[in-house]
């Protein structure tokens, strides 16, 4: 398995995938989060589950017109930090300011988000590459949107810390201001997605980002066990 795995990334801004859950009028990207080759390499049992292996998009990142980035966590939190680390990977590639990132837990909806089994120490192994590609694709679309707005070559602009900058003229546009324009653009083809160099990581490997539900856990507000509506509890 090498870094040549490519997630299929789609611009689903107009498809109302997350209707009622996220702001409209922004950019929403979806990526098939488990490449088929990774599935073949790791027998997970997903093929035997009710909805089988879902290859349609089920990892989402959205950028609302107010600049808030929402990243859907498609794995649960079992104490290893994956509810934080997986969205953090998207945010890093996206050059997002973590304080303006919201993590939305995918609520056990297999048809929408695919298999969400959180086990086998595979949340990161299976998802780091698609997550990076999804974040990078969004970043490149924002850069393209800004370059078009200014009428300059995309190579002259750079996304950094939640805005796109045109160094030559000192102009800047925030992600929120670019979200609507970016939502009208095609996603970059897989072979044109440019991942960051590891030396440019903001969050990955730094060990400086607290888990997203730290405050909620210490105040008893965190949703830890999710019960589907109508589920009953039993005790052995």
């Amino acid at each position: 398995m090498t870094s040549t795995i490519h997630a299929v990334i789609e611009n689903v801004s107009r498809r109302g995938f997350l209707k009622g859950m996220l702001a409209t009028g922004g950019l929403v990207l979806a990526a098939g989060s488990v490449p088929s080759r990774a599935l073949a390499a790791y027998a997970t049992g997903a093929e035997k589950m009710a909805h089988g292996v879902r290859s349609d998009p089920h990892l989402f990142v959205s950028i609302a017109p107010d600049g808030i980035v929402t990243i859907v966590a498609i794995r649960s939190e079992m104490g290893t930090g994956s509810r934080t680390s997986l969205p953090m990977i998207v945010a890093d590639e996206l050059e997002a300011d973590w304080s303006r990132v919201r993590v939305m837990q995918a609520p056990g909806d297999e048809e929408k988000y695919g298999n969400q089994d959180t086990d086998g120490s595979r949340s990161l192994r299976h998802h780091i590459q698609p997550m990076r590609q999804c974040g990078a694709a969004a970043r490149q679309m924002l850069e393209t949107a800004a370059a078009q707005r200014w009428g300059v070559a995309v190579g002259e602009v750079q996304a950094q810390n939640h805005e796109v900058v045109h160094k030559a003229s000192g102009r800047k546009l925030g992600y929120g201001e670019l979200a609507a324009d970016a939502s009208a653009l095609p996603t970059p083809p897989a072979d044109q997605i440019k991942l960051k160099d590891a030396s440019a990581f903001r969050y990955i490997g730094k060990g400086t980002t607290p888990i997203v539900d730290l405050f909620d856990i210490t105040t008893g507000r965190a949703t830890i066990a999710y019960f589907m509506p109508g589920s009953l509890a039993s005790m052995l």
Binding site: E77, M78, G79, T80, G81, P210, I211, D213, L214, F215, I217, T218, T219, G220, R221, A222, I224, A225, M235
Partner: protein, 150 residues
Amino acid sequence: MVKLQVNGQAQSFDGDPSMPLLWYLRDELQLTGTKYGCGVALCGACTVHIDGEASRACGIAISDVAGRSVTTIEGLDRDGNHPVQKAWRALNVPQCGYCQAGQIMQAAALLATTKNPSEAEINDAMSGNICRCGCYQRITAAIKTAATGA
């Protein structure tokens, strides 16, 4: 009819008096910060304060807390800024989070009576609170931080 105080508010309950306090808190009052762990007072996940003392809510009948004052994680500090909660965040204690309300309530009860506990006193007070993620070293460190205000 059982009358009691929960997080400073007067409550009354006229259902089954043998219902464990834990289910009253979770199912009747929707105070779900207190967790169900083992159900037999062996793991500490359901720890609350009864008249200030750390107690396992799963093993106490609602009738046994009549006239008493119960504090849950939701009522420990209105803004969630009890010194123990602040220390917990400063040291990134939680991992999955399931046992943490119980851990915090146990630690807060310890510090209420023992202002600057030794490591042995901390271990003694906390030994009934199990953490499957294994946060114990950070829990001990955070209790010391909370005690000294560091």
